[in-house]
């Protein structure tokens, strides 16, 4: 009975994208990374929902929106294990995962205060030099950072 009530909290989508298994503490960063606050679509956001896998999770349902790989892979920096469900006519037609792209443009702040990107109006650009260990390198100042230490812009 409780489970049904919880399921009702997050309504079904006719067409669109569901992003599931977002670690709760990362939910709002994901919202911001995808620029959802600037969209006009019908969006449902679930926060601190019960999850067997994560304990607490977040979920986002965006009606009538389908993301290209480039857009959705931005999430991989903060939440690499999210699961995407692509919905058409109330049915899941595709399940996707995100993967770390080779480049991160305009997402991560450079930790080097002497980097040009922190002193000039411009986008940051990082190359992912080691996907397994999550090491990224600034295209401009060439300094490396670990994924865990990064600050999202």
């Amino acid at each position: 009975m409780n489970k049904n009530k919880q399921a009702l909290q997050v309504a079904a989508l006719k067409n669109g994208t569901v992003i599931d298994h977002i670690p709760s503490e990362k939910l709002f960063t994901v919202v911001s990374l995808l620029g959802l606050e600037h969209m006009g679509n019908n969006i449902t956001i679930g926060f601190n929902l019960e999850s067997k896998k994560l304990g607490k999770k977040g979920i986002i349902k965006i009606a009538d929106k389908f993301f290209c790989d480039e857009e959705i892979n931005r999430i991989s920096v903060v939440a690499p294990h999210v699961k995407l469900n692509i919905i058409r006519d109330y049915a899941v037609i595709e399940k996707k995962e995100v993967y770390m792209p080779d480049e991160l443009r305009g997402i991560v702040k450079c930790a080097n205060p002497k980097c040009i990107t922190n002193n000039e109006p411009m986008s940051t650009l990082f190359h992912v030099t080691d996907k397994d260990n999550g090491i990224i390198k600034c295209h401009y100042c060439e300094k490396e950072q670990k994924k865990e230490e990064i600050v999202i812009l």
């Binding site: 080097n112 002497k114 980097c115 040009i116 990107t117 002193n119 000039e120 109006p121 411009m122 600034c138 295209h139 401009y140 100042c141 060439e142 300094k143 490396e144």
Partner: protein
């Protein structure tokens, strides 16, 4: 974006390095030519550096180019808050090539992406200084007649030394054996030792510096051990006199040994070394003009065959 810019020596393949050294060699034969006549070279030094600036300006002047620029950032519009991009765009209207030194890392890379003219990086913060590496390579090439299979001894501040890191990376093509001689506080950082392993570069580390250790050196590259770099002052006091080269230490060294230093030299090379024929640091600075002439011509699309 301009592909002809020179931002870092890492962009140069082995063939390109040898090509540029050949070009420098041609310019050494005759550095006074009109090949850049009608061109304007801008030297934008947002951070002061008399030596590098004079070297580039001499290189340009001897090739017939005219030089404009600034060397005091306080006098420029940057102090009024103009962005780097705007400054570069404006100067691109006047000059055919921009040589820039900036205190921020990545400045040259960014400039090369926004400027309609080629950019030559004359130093961006603690990051890259490719023209120094080119003149170091040319000096080694000239004095050893080859770049292959040499014993290269790097002495002094290997932690913060931009020039030693850059030289290390450029030499990866040529099968060197490096000897790193530095105090514990200033030893070669782990990332560069990893770089050596990944690129199959042999290296040996030492903390002592004496005539026995340097006996097999082909090149002795001296750098200054700066007081400001030490967190432990007692450690500084202990080591400050160890990494000093004295003439007596050179008695058992190889006849082809040459002593290099990116300059300015303070006390790490004793003055009694200056008269030793193995002292090469002043000719090294002169080689800077030829190396920079090669760089200026290359970024402006002038090929080796055009100058032979």
């Amino acid at each position: 974006m301009d592909n002809k810019s020179l931002v870092t020596i890492a962009e140069y393949s082995k063939e390109k390095i040898l090509y540029m050294l050949e070009m420098a060699k041609q310019f050494e034969k005759d550095p006074n030519r009109k090949i850049l006549e009608g061109k304007v070279v801008a030297t934008l030094f947002f951070e002061p550096s008399t030596r590098t600036r004079l070297s580039f300006e001499t290189a340009a002047n001897r090739l017939g180019a005219r030089v404009i620029g600034f060397s005091d950032p306080k006098a420029t519009s940057s102090s009024k808050g103009e962005t780097l991009k705007d400054t570069i765009m404006m100067v691109s209207n006047y000059a055919d090539v921009i040589v820039m030194r900036h205190h921020l890392e990545g400045a040259a890379r960014y400039a090369s992406e926004v400027a309609p003219v080629p950019i030559v990086n004359a130093g961006d913060g603690a990051n890259q200084h490719p023209s120094q590496t080119m003149l170091d390579l040319y000096s080694i090439y000239k004095t050893q007649k080859t770049l292959e299979n040499l014993n290269i001894y790097l002495v002094g501040d290997l932690k913060y030394g931009r020039t030693v890191h850059s030289l290390l990376m450029a030499m990866r093509h040529f099968n060197p054996t490096f000897h790193f001689i530095a105090p514990e506080e200033l030893k070669m950082p782990e990332e560069y030792k990893i770089y050596c392993k990944e690129n199959h570069i042999n290296y040996v580390e030492h903390t002592d510096f004496n005539e026995d250790i340097i006996a097999d050196a082909d090149i002795l590259y001296m750098t200054r051990v700066q007081r400001e770099r030490f967190t432990d002052m007692m450690e500084y006091e202990r080591v400050k006199n160890i990494y000093i080269l004295k003439n007596k230490m050179l008695e058992q060294t190889r006849p082809n040994l040459r002593i290099l230093h990116p300059l300015p030299r303070v006390n790490e090379i004793a003055y009694d070394v200056d008269d030793n024929p193995k002292a090469y640091y002043f000719q090294q600075a002169l080689n800077g003009v030829y190396a920079r002439q090669a760089i200026l011509c290359d970024v402006l699309g002038i090929a080796l065959q055009d100058i032979m």
